[in-house]
């Protein structure tokens, strides 16, 4: 049992509409989500995150491919026969029922005894800190409270897998940050597998065990937050997660496990990634905060400096066509370290930049 994944999608394809307006919401998607994992689907709007979640929940049928829960194919099971619960993007709390009735709904449907239902509802209210609000209707709750009720309603059933579709997107920033921590610790305590959908990269990076970055119905990269941030495999992932400079460079050859490349402005750097043929033109991704600037160098000129609190974001012109974004921590007194017009040298630690496939 242990070797089969909690949730698995095998070559799942899902289309909507017909020929001229055909949308490939999911295009040959395969992911295996482990038990007790906090797994995040991350991608821009319309990339198919919700569709994948609905396929797992059974609210949609795939055109081809298979969905497995704990190693068992469930494609042909209706939603109410799958041990999976969903926290919907819109919460979908039943407006004609009280908070307690909403939480009790799944338990009632499974035919649990009355006192057990009452006990579980009480536990859930405590868990999401909603004691005393059990008689309210969803319409009488704030957004954050509704979100908690939606969570409690799903968790009350002790599902093997909990699907969460952008549960925090309707909340304001402060509340969202608080709920991130709460969700994460809840997942650790309950040991439930979370499949979490978001288009917020910060949310994904801070909460997840693993992330699947999706774009246009395909999984672009699957890995830990560190993998995704430090070793993006293609331009889309590098661009979507965090800020990145993309540099055209010429590969010069291998050197100590890295690839030596020469960029515009004449500076050379050691890049991580699979070595291409020497002399090939490649794209290199370089995070602004990994670059070290030296005063008085000859690689480029500072053309812009934007104060952002702890750091300053600089734009350094390397050549007429090439600008480089650089993020440097400010001095202790908060002053920027470089001035506009200053000539600077650029140093990139070996392996800080990555070669991209395209």
């Amino acid at each position: 049992m242990a070797e089969s994944a909690a949730v698995e999608a095998r070559s799942v394809t899902k289309t909507f509409g017909v020929a001229p307006d055909l949308v490939r919401a999911l295009d040959d998607v395969s992911v295996a989500i482990e038990e007790n994992e906090f797994f995040t689907l991350l991608g821009p709007s319309g990339c198919g995150k919700t569709t994948l979640l609905r396929l797992i929940a059974g609210l949609e049928l795939p055109n081809s491919g298979d969905i497995l829960l704990a190693g068992r194919s469930v494609v042909h099971l209706p939603p109410h026969e799958r041990p999976v619960n969903t926290v919907f993007q819109s919460y979908a709390l039943f407006p004609h029922m009280s908070v307690a009735q909403n939480i009790a709904f799944g338990l009632e449907m499974r035919g649990l005894a009355r006192d057990e239902i009452a006990r579980t509802v009480g536990e859930m209210l405590t868990l999401v800190k909603m004691q005393g609000l059990d008689a309210r209707r969803p319409g009488q709750l704030s957004g954050g409270q509704q979100q908690r009720v939606a969570l409690a309603r799903a968790l009350a059933n002790h599902p093997k897998v909990l699907l969460l579709d952008e549960p925090l997107s309707a909340l304001d920033l402060k509340l969202r940050q608080g709920m991130r921590g709460e969700l994460k610790s809840l997942q650790r305590r309950t040991g439930i597998t979370f499949v979490f959908v978001t288009h917020d990269q910060e949310e994904a990076l801070t909460m997840s065990d693993r992330i699947a970055v999706m774009d246009r119905g395909r999984v672009q990269q699957l890995g830990t937050p560190l993998d995704i941030y430090e070793r993006p495999v293609n331009k889309f992932v590098a661009d979507f997660i965090g800020d990145t400079n993309f540099l055209e460079a010429t590969a010069l050859g291998e050197e100590g496990g890295f690839v030596r490349c020469r960029c515009a402005g004449g500076f050379e750097l050691l890049v991580g990634g699979i070595p291409p043929a020497p002399g090939a033109t490649v794209t290199v991704a370089l995070r602004p905060e990994k670059i070290v600037l030296h005063p008085g160098g000859a690689h480029g000129t500072v053309t812009q400096a934007v104060y952002v609190g702890t750091d300053t974001n600089y734009v350094v012109q390397l050549s007429v066509k090439t600008d480089l974004g650089v993020r440097v921590q400010n001095a202790v007194d908060g002053r920027a370290r470089f001035a506009v017009g200053e000539h600077v040298g650029i140093e990139v630690p070996p392996g800080a930049a990555r070669l991209l496939k395209d």
């Binding site: 209706p78 109410h80 979908a92 709390l93 004609h96 009280s98 709904f105 449907m109």
Partner: protein, 324 residues
């Protein structure tokens, strides 16, 4: 900041400003009320002249004596109401309890209730079907539902007679297949009236049901499925409660006109099976008993209002109970 805002304005002028603001607000409020009454005026006038006044006339007439050739004679009398429950013996002038009119009322209530229930049972799946069609074809379905209104109810009822009479379509078919040897009598029965009411008022059930089902958010349905509800339970616990305003509106729109129906029982009941509407019409027609006709109308109205009050009370209780 705060200093600058407070210092230049003496207390006196502050009070004056507050006064001016208050009086301006009061003027606006008065103006607002004037506009509101102005807008409601025409409607109130129509309701008053053509609704309340006739009702008062009926109320007064019901307590007057019947004129020998129709109309009323001025003089207080409760005869109309007494007549509703009692019969005066022709020989000894004794009042005896009589159920003739009660039976007509009971039949009307039962037929109207039956029509409402069957309209609901047939109308709900129909409305659900319409509401779940693609948005582009929904209007076509609504159009089809309203199609019967294009023809006069009299004509439609008459064609119904042709279908259900002894030599009608149904019996011809049954005889032809040999399922029966003799035609089944449908016309001029309570069943025929019920059928006629069902047919005439079905659109009044379907349209409000459709309106509320169309607005229904199917994400609630999906959420219920996700929480282990089967189809039947989704219907009972989610769809029906959320469609309740439409169900209530539909039931009222069918029950109220059905209980006072006139043409349908007249034609399909053949005058033998009377409903309240026919009884009332008879009093103003050949029976020439206007006070009794007025009394019957008021009793009908009272019945409908009592049913409504009971309904409102019980639903208010229920929503209170589910809160507590």
């Amino acid at each position: 900041m705060t200093e600058a805002a407070l210092s230049p304005m003496p207390a006196e002028s502050l009070a004056a400003t507050a006064d001016r603001v208050a009086s301006a607000r009061a003027r606006m409020h008065r103006r607002f009320l004037e506009i509101r009454w102005g807008l409601a005026g025409p409607a109130l006038l129509v309701i008053g002249v053509f609704g309340i006044v006739p009702l008062l006339i009926i109320l007064v007439y019901s307590f007057l004596k019947a004129g020998s050739y129709g109309g009323v004679e001025w003089g207080f009398s409760t005869a109309a109401y007494v007549q509703f429950l009692f019969e005066r013996d022709i020989f000894d002038e004794q009042l005896r309890f009589a159920t003739d009119y009660l039976q007509i009322f009971a039949r009307s209530i039962l037929l109207a209730l039956g029509a409402t229930v069957f309209c609901l049972v047939i109308g709900f799946p129909t409305a659900y079907f319409m509401a779940t069609r693609p948005a582009s074809s929904r209007n076509l379905w609504v159009f089809l539902i309203t199609l019967p209104f294009w023809t006069n109810l009299l004509i439609r009822t008459y064609s119904m007679m042709l279908i259900i009479r002894d030599e009608g379509l149904i019996n011809d078919f049954l005889l032809w297949t040999g399922l029966t040897g003799r035609p089944i009598v449908i016309l001029y029965t309570d069943f025929a009236i019920g059928l006629g009411l069902l047919y005439s008022f079905l659109p009044f059930m379907v349209l409000p049901l459709y309106a509320s089902l169309e607005k229904l958010d199917f994400r609630f349905v999906e959420a219920a499925f996700d929480l282990y509800a089967t189809r039947g339970r989704v219907l009972r616990r989610i769809i029906i409660p959320l469609a309740k305003p439409g169900i209530v509106a539909g039931c009222l729109l069918v029950f109220i006109p059905a209980i006072g129906a006139f043409i349908t029982p007249l034609m399909l009941g053949g005058g033998k099976q009377m409903m309240i509407g026919n009884l009332i019409a008879l009093q103003f027609g050949s029976s020439r008993n206007w006070p009794f006709g007025s009394a019957a109308s008021l009793i009908l109205m009272a019945l409908v209002m009592i049913a409504l009050i009971i309904y409102v009370r019980s639903s208010a209780d229920r929503s209170k109970a589910s809160h507590g």
